[in-house]
Point group: C3
Amino acid sequence: MTDAATNMRLKLPIICFVLQIILIILFGVLVQYDHETDAKEWHNQTHPDYDNDFYYRYASFQDVHVMIFIGFGFLMTFLQRYGFSSVGFNFLIAAFALQWATLMQGFFHGMHGGKIHIGVESMINADFCTGSVLISFGAVLGKTSPVQLLVMALFEVVLFAVNEFILLTALGARDAGGSMTIHTFGAYFGLMVTRVLYRPNLDKSKHKNSSVYHSDLFAMIGTIYLWMFWPSFNSAITAHGDDQHRTAMNTYYSLAACTLATYGMSAITAHDGKLDMVHIQNAALAGGVAAGTAGEMMLTPFGSMIVGFLAGIISVLGYKYLQPILEEKLKIQDTCGVHNLHGMPGVLGAIVGAVTSAFATKDIYGNGLGDVFPDVASGEIDASFQGVRQAISLAVTLGMALLGGLIVGFILKLPIFGAPPDTICFEDSVYWEVPGEEESHDEQLTTVRTEESEKLNC
Amino acid sequence: MTDAATNMRLKLPIICFVLQIILIILFGVLVQYDHETDAKEWHNQTHPDYDNDFYYRYASFQDVHVMIFIGFGFLMTFLQRYGFSSVGFNFLIAAFALQWATLMQGFFHGMHGGKIHIGVESMINADFCTGSVLISFGAVLGKTSPVQLLVMALFEVVLFAVNEFILLTALGARDAGGSMTIHTFGAYFGLMVTRVLYRPNLDKSKHKNSSVYHSDLFAMIGTIYLWMFWPSFNSAITAHGDDQHRTAMNTYYSLAACTLATYGMSAITAHDGKLDMVHIQNAALAGGVAAGTAGEMMLTPFGSMIVGFLAGIISVLGYKYLQPILEEKLKIQDTCGVHNLHGMPGVLGAIVGAVTSAFATKDIYGNGLGDVFPDVASGEIDASFQGVRQAISLAVTLGMALLGGLIVGFILKLPIFGAPPDTICFEDSVYWEVPGEEESHDEQLTTVRTEESEKLNC
Amino acid sequence: MTDAATNMRLKLPIICFVLQIILIILFGVLVQYDHETDAKEWHNQTHPDYDNDFYYRYASFQDVHVMIFIGFGFLMTFLQRYGFSSVGFNFLIAAFALQWATLMQGFFHGMHGGKIHIGVESMINADFCTGSVLISFGAVLGKTSPVQLLVMALFEVVLFAVNEFILLTALGARDAGGSMTIHTFGAYFGLMVTRVLYRPNLDKSKHKNSSVYHSDLFAMIGTIYLWMFWPSFNSAITAHGDDQHRTAMNTYYSLAACTLATYGMSAITAHDGKLDMVHIQNAALAGGVAAGTAGEMMLTPFGSMIVGFLAGIISVLGYKYLQPILEEKLKIQDTCGVHNLHGMPGVLGAIVGAVTSAFATKDIYGNGLGDVFPDVASGEIDASFQGVRQAISLAVTLGMALLGGLIVGFILKLPIFGAPPDTICFEDSVYWEVPGEEESHDEQLTTVRTEESEKLNC
């Protein structure tokens, strides 16, 4: 299964080393510790060490980090012979994207005297951006080389940062958990890329594009970690105090309601009432996606549960009925069904966020209004206009994602990046040394006997 | 393997949707943000955002959350063909129980103007109650439908909340880590349920009621997470400061001592000295259970280690000698051996708690006495009476659990819930779409050759 | 496969019980709660409960704990038939070592009125010492009995504590993340032990000394957890405030750069450009090891990335070219390649630490200089002398590790500890009850048919 076209011996080292060396140089020129990580700056002021933001963000960061590397990585191991690539390429592109995102987001979030200042908050933001790239990875899973993935990440991070800048800074939208910036963007970007990379003969690898028993269990590790830590994800960069607390709790209830909806829908849509692991692994997470924008708002647990419940229903219906149509009619081969987990629930989350924003009042938020809607609290705009901003942000995100995915898709079509042929997609052995299967005891016995009979024959 | 009786196409969606919609309505009517999660309430007072309890409980909550969903979920994947159900039903009933527990515990813990106030502490308590349901799940594992499990959770959560109210509020007992409220209650409730659901012909599924190599490794993921995070579990809702700190440390040493006892006992009770995975996966955790009540007290690391050591010994002996007797004589088919991991060590923990309480003095606790024993510190009662309260609490818990389990067991016997027949217990394919095994390379080769010879024959 | 020599029925229980009982007695005599965990002491002073160090160290502790039990445990499950032993013996020796380390480190770190005071910081230090033992375990993996491992841990913990005392207290070196104390010490100690235990006929077990597909995926769980939480590891016991924050961030970027270097090197050193799981599982972590000493210093993200990049390159080259030479020429059978992951990167980290120390100035660190280099800040020594101290510390560590490993290796050679014979190394069934393989559906079918034909024959 060694093939000149897919041979990574030169391509992968070149792109890894070139990218990493460029990153190191740019970090050397542009990046500085912020005032919470710099020894001199921190000690220039008088404050207890316990006030360092490390103690109020780092635990959230670690939960997000687990979602990025274990959550996304293992969620994609459901394929029978693509576990090495799922975890391994996830690892590679995430390690690249988080460095590159530090620079891009730092650039757009505002430089300090020509320098990018970094600390735990920039680390969380970099992981968020990485999450978006990994969502897109889910759409093209099994059909791309690691070099293609790094090239995709290279461009997607830039576009993510631009879109994030437009939404959060230029338009003044709120999107703490990234229903729009992360999920909608990542999903529609990835869907457009996979559309451009459409493979009419992908059914030649069809037998590999499915799970086996233990691969589904590995995937559940990813699912459960994503589910458990989503409250931390949505609350990781909200304002301190009630905001973080409320966001985590809203997400927790949204996910719980989503899970019951998912199990119900999975059974009702199967002709024999049997649960489908694809739904459980994915749709049960849609409640976290859909609470990404409104989670920090006074959505109430009641509202959160309704949102999660709807997200679960929509997501299972997407897997069951919409995905085959997208593949057949629109030629979108969406390996992980990111449209159902991140796309539609992301759009739902954006709409819920817009509506919840539009109804924000001083009566509900009290003096906390400024934490969530600073421009409304300052009187600069009214709440309904905040809702309009949110809606425009969704439209911008969809536009950026689809246009960006279109362009990047065509770049990835260049024949130099070592994409696998149609016959061996979803297969680790193209890019990995894959060990043999364990010898069964029978085989060992056979070996021994063969050796013995050979001896006898001598 | 499709059977009308076990077909979940209507039963499961109906119960999921009905329960979730009722939950949503009740949350809408009854539940409010507490003063730490409500924007207006929080900002009504003057305090730094860093004082929000989120920063002093949420990390503990997340550790508990991991124990509930990864710990319990994967611990039960040891069965060779019940991994989907173990993780998946654990996921389902936990997602339901935590919502339902929020309401039940909120109701019993005291309403505020007709409303239940929620925040991170109620989230931890809801997860605790869920843990108790999952312990009971361990007793009936492999023999119940998801509908039965949801019905069991529905009733068990109510009884848990009642029992917890009697113990902590009415009797004034201390049980921060839940040796009584969680472990003893969950275990004996589950044992009684499985007794009522006794299947005389369960040996027809005997060949499925065992592990395979990789299923034991998956189970170790659950074990290790439970073991690591048990210090967080026992300390999650104790008083802040020295109390949380001490509880975590006591549990840490109890578990360490328990682990050495478990390995020693596992080897000594095997005729050939070989370690048994069942013991390692389970008995090594008994030290956490047994430190559940006294962990917050001045048990000392020395005392904690003795407790853990005894718990490990008792637990292995239970697995080795008592469980077969319980099954044969008392007809208790305890799939996971919850009697050995949660039942006996829970009772041990309750006794240790009673004794440790009885010897509490101002000399030992200083001004910290009020944090652990408020009624003793206020002079309302003396320490020995606190010990009596603890002992009574154990008796109440055993009574509630056994009686509750009896009633709920008979409810679950109703033939409408889709229990699996005796011949296909411990089998995922009753309720799940199960993928085929991976094609071996030989088979692929065969397929190719067959196709080729077919072509030749044409 | 039952053999009197490897039968653990008496040996393992005796050592477990004797060690644990001695630990309990020593804890009873010597160990006390410190002022943050003791109810009386804590309440003797006036301070908010939120000032308890629990809230500023416990989250780091839990991350370290996960690295020790899940990280190291699962990293070693890559062997096809040694998963039970990898996770299980890791669990056993860690549970012992952390108790024993509490005593040894407490003894050397200074007694308080004849008592060892413990709290979350001692728990982190005990886990650190345990990590060093587990590194040595990696070198001898598959070739030692659990009794040998406990004996090794018994001695290694003592030597670790002595070496740590010499470095940090006597020499005044800095080594927050343990490039020297943990990684260099653990690696060279283990390498010397495995050298002394050299087995000329180990190739008789050669077919077991390799991975299978799913064992490599289990190992990736270990890898990813180690990778994610390494920032917490290196920052767990640094000074509060900017120091912890900076250390975590430096480690994060070092690891990211290391990962790209590892993928590049793995592809370029394979004749067909295919990635090797051994490299990804191990070398990608070298960036964390190499940032262990200088991580708390003003290394800058730029410097951290260079260090990580070099560490990844060195580590892959070690696996590819040096390890076979060490085995063939020096007779060092290093199962996990700890020389490549912990040895060389640890030495690199020590050197980077010495150089970074030598260039520390008040201009760079401001008033924060005292947190990192107290003796330099106080004017007692100048920075270049601090660099000399660091370099001497590396030499001392190498000497202690090699000499200690030599002695302990010979102790472990005593024929009473139940080492496995050369023919069945890397095999769980020597010390574990191992379940059979899952029946395939074909076999089930065969069974059914056989039964049917038997019926027909009747």
